[in-house]
């Protein structure tokens, strides 16, 4: 049997947090330590390990990706997706565990890594491609296809600082798209830019997948994941919550940990947020409903719980609902409600909730972006795709109609009919309209 392309064995990644010292140590601290314990000066790293406050970004993560598989990694912000990518890209070393990768690895964590604004497009192609691990001959060979893909021939010798942001991203992506590797690690931030460009990015990824290369793709875009990936990995608070076929993993993600139609996102009870911090976001069947799962007809309740650290702040919750294609279906703010607008909150925990009525959204997968907003103007906390839910189709409502009912929304509209067979009446009515 062929060996796996990526083999992750019991990987942990710990960060020291909370203490003021380790992240940006100053020389003064070092001197202080040196006076107290001159010989331990060199073992600073070990002392940090013993620091009481540690944050585990990855906990005992194990999984395998076979050659040619395209694996999608999902999870909320802070679930460890980025850390996992960073460990696999060798940007940061794991604290424990072991990763084995077979073949040439290229990691695309952003577009245009190392682009220098003063240099021309041509120079930046060479620079960026070398940083991504291409050799000189390889770049020369791919130079024309890269330029053609980016569509910036005319500006090849212009410094990229004069480029529009669209041109910049296109050029950067063109380089990334031509990286030849057996294993590609791709962060969704790669898919920036307008909708058209995103489509091209995803198209490129689909091509890569068909070429039989191994891909690890981190994204919040559930449709893209469903279409591109064969395998899925769901991370939750640094641990693997689900690993297997992409459909199962996405369903698990949509349903949340409880598996009962409620999706819950818990946040570590952090006190470091200056104004307020999120505690829990949950989405599920509204209490008024009796059914077992969310369907077209049922109402869905959204609850956002947060801690206010700075008393007397006016804090609002803002929720955006995105469908499978990342179209924003609606967005709503708690301060749109007159009773909640301009209200100052006391320190402590608060829960804001709202309900999406039944017979509004069409069947499908939805994700919610949640933000906290101060004074109706300043977004100080934003969590994309924090929870997801799935609206089930309710059987066939109409005998004989076997096609899906399409549309972003699916309101239950009242239809009425009357007989209009008196042509004389109709003409008279139309005529009176005209006058």
């Amino acid at each position: 049997m062929a060996k796996s392309a990526i083999n992750v064995e019991r990987v942990w990644k710990e960060y020291a947090v909370g203490t003021t010292h380790p992240r940006h140590g100053t020389f003064y601290d070092l001197l202080g330590h040196a006076m107290k314990a001159p010989l331990r000066l060199l073992s600073r790293a070990e002392r940090e390990e013993s620091a009481a406050t540690r944050f585990q970004a990855l906990r005992d993560v194990s999984f395998e990706v076979q050659p040619g598989e395209v694996m999608g990694v999902v999870g909320r912000n802070g679930a460890g997706k980025s850390t996992l990518l960073k460990v696999l890209s060798r940007i940061t070393a794991p604290s424990r565990g072991r990763v084995t990768m077979r073949g040439r690895v290229a990691s695309l964590l952003e577009v245009g890594t190392g682009f220098h604004p003063e240099l021309s497009g041509r120079e930046n192609i060479y620079l960026n491609a070398t940083i991504l691990g291409m050799g000189k001959r390889e770049i020369t060979r791919k130079f024309d296809p890269i330029v053609e893909f980016s569509g910036i021939e005319r500006f090849l010798d212009t410094p990229v600082k004069r480029y529009s942001s669209g041109m910049y991203v296109r050029l950067a992506f063109a380089v990334a798209a031509h990286v030849e590797a057996d294993i590609l690690l791709i962060d969704e931030v790669l898919a920036v830019g307008d909708a058209d460009f995103q489509k091209r990015c995803l198209g490129m990824m689909g091509e890569v997948a068909r070429e039989g290369r191994t891909v690890l793709f981190v994204s919040h875009n559930l449709t893209a994941l469903r279409n591109l990936c064969t395998e899925g990995l769901l991370l939750n608070a640094g641990s693997v919550e689900s690993f297997g076929a992409i459909g199962d993993v996405l369903q698990r993600y949509a349903l949340g940990a409880s598996g009962e139609g409620t999706s819950v996102a818990d946040f570590a009870d952090r006190m470091d947020g200056e104004i307020a911090s999120l505690q829990r976001v949950s989405v599920g069947l509204a209490e008024s409903e009796t059914g077992a799962s969310i369907s077209i007809a049922t109402a869905v309740s959204i609850k956002v719980r947060f801690s206010v650290h700075k008393p007397d702040s006016e804090i609002g919750v803002f929720v955006s609902c995105l469908d499978e294609s990342q179209n924003m279906v609606f967005s709503t703010g708690s301060f749109f409600e007159r009773a909640l607008s301009g209200v100052k909150l006391a320190a402590g925990r608060h829960e804001f909730s709202c309900e999406i009525p039944g017979n509004l959204l069409n069947a499908g997968d939805y994700t919610l972006d949640v933000s906290l907003i101060r004074d109706r103007s300043e977004v100080f906390l934003s969590e994309p795709a924090v929870v997801a839910f799935h609206i089930h189709e309710v059987g066939s409502l109409v005998e004989g109609w076997n096609w899906p009912i399409r549309g972003v929304i699916r309101p239950n509209l009242r239809w009425s009919a009357r007989i209009v067979n008196d042509s004389a009446v109709e003409v008279r009515e139309a005529g009176s309209d005209r006058s």
Partner: protein, 283 residues
């Protein structure tokens, strides 16, 4: 070409094993060699960017040491009547300013290089040593340009060409080597302790006065002279003077300095390698 080697390194059979890194470890020369093209590209970038959008462009590489030489010649040569072992003061000070300017610029820029490249360090993997190395490489171009200026100056002051000139490449190697060790150490220290952002320029300033740049080493009492060579730049600067001014080499002093350079180099690389793995977390 050793592209075959690269093929092995980057190729399809290559197995990457990622494990926690602990303690001191050896520099992975093979990896560094495999990434030499990146070193070249980053150095070229630094050189190109340095004089872009400046009116005088590459002329700055010449103007800086020349201006410094003029000021030093007036202040120390004319006004302070600094002795210069019977050599015209301008050429005496310029031959020392060559390695010194390179060294000062190299350690200052490589000290800042890692912090300045945080966008690279946190987004893509390559041997981090490439970053301070490339910033030193860019300074090397300036050194070459200003060396070329010295030749017409020598004929102007009628300082003859000697066989000692053949040792120039060796001394250039020595100053690069010294800058590498100290620059690498400083770049790693700057990431760990931002204080070095302020310490480095200050240190460079003081360092010049304990190096015989503006004064001849003969000004120092005989019994202390050897002690001065513990500063690796003393050996380099005196060596440059021997090369260009045709004086005898002080081989003992030079060996002491090169030995200290070697020590800095080993310590610098070792410390860098030790803290390298934390860069992305700290930067």
């Amino acid at each position: 070409m050793s592209s075959e080697n690269d093929e092995q390194y980057f190729g399809h059979e290559h197995v990457t094993v990622i494990e926690p890194l602990q303690g001191w470890r050896m520099l992975d020369w093979r990896e560094l060699w495999a990434y030499r093209e990146l070193l070249w590209v980053l150095t070229a970038r630094d050189v190109k960017v340095r004089y872009k959008q400046t009116v005088l462009g590459a002329a700055w590489a010449v103007l800086r040491p020349l201006t410094t030489m003029l000021i030093f010649s007036v202040v120390f040569g004319r006004l302070a009547k600094m002795p210069s072992d019977g050599i015209p003061y301008p050429i005496f000070v310029y031959s020392a300013l060559l390695p010194w300017t390179f060294f000062a610029a190299a350690i200052t820029s490589s000290g800042q290089s890692l912090v300045g490249s945080s966008h690279l360090v946190s987004k893509v993997y390559f041997p981090r040593l490439i970053i301070p190395l490339s910033s030193i490489g860019a300074g090397l171009v300036d050194l070459m340009v200003s060396c070329a200026i010295l030749l017409p100056m020598m004929s102007w002051y009628q300082v003859g060409l000697t066989w000692n000139l053949l040792a120039a490449p060796l001394l250039i190697a020595a100053v690069v080597f010294t800058a590498l060790g100290i620059g690498t150490l400083l770049s790693a220290l700057t990431v760990a302790y931002r204080d070095f952002t302020h310490i480095t320029p200050f240190m460079v300033q003081i360092w010049m006065y304990v190096t015989p740049v503006i004064f001849p080493i003969s000004l120092v009492p005989e019994q202390w002279r050897r002690l001065l060579y513990l500063n690796p730049m003393t050996g380099v600067v005196e060596g440059f003077r021997s090369v260009f001014l045709g004086r005898d080499f002080d081989f003992v002093g030079l060996s002491i300095s090169v030995g200290i350079s070697l020590l800095f180099f080993v310590v610098g690389i070792a410390y860098f390698e030790r803290v390298e793995r934390r860069f992305a977390d700290v930067i």
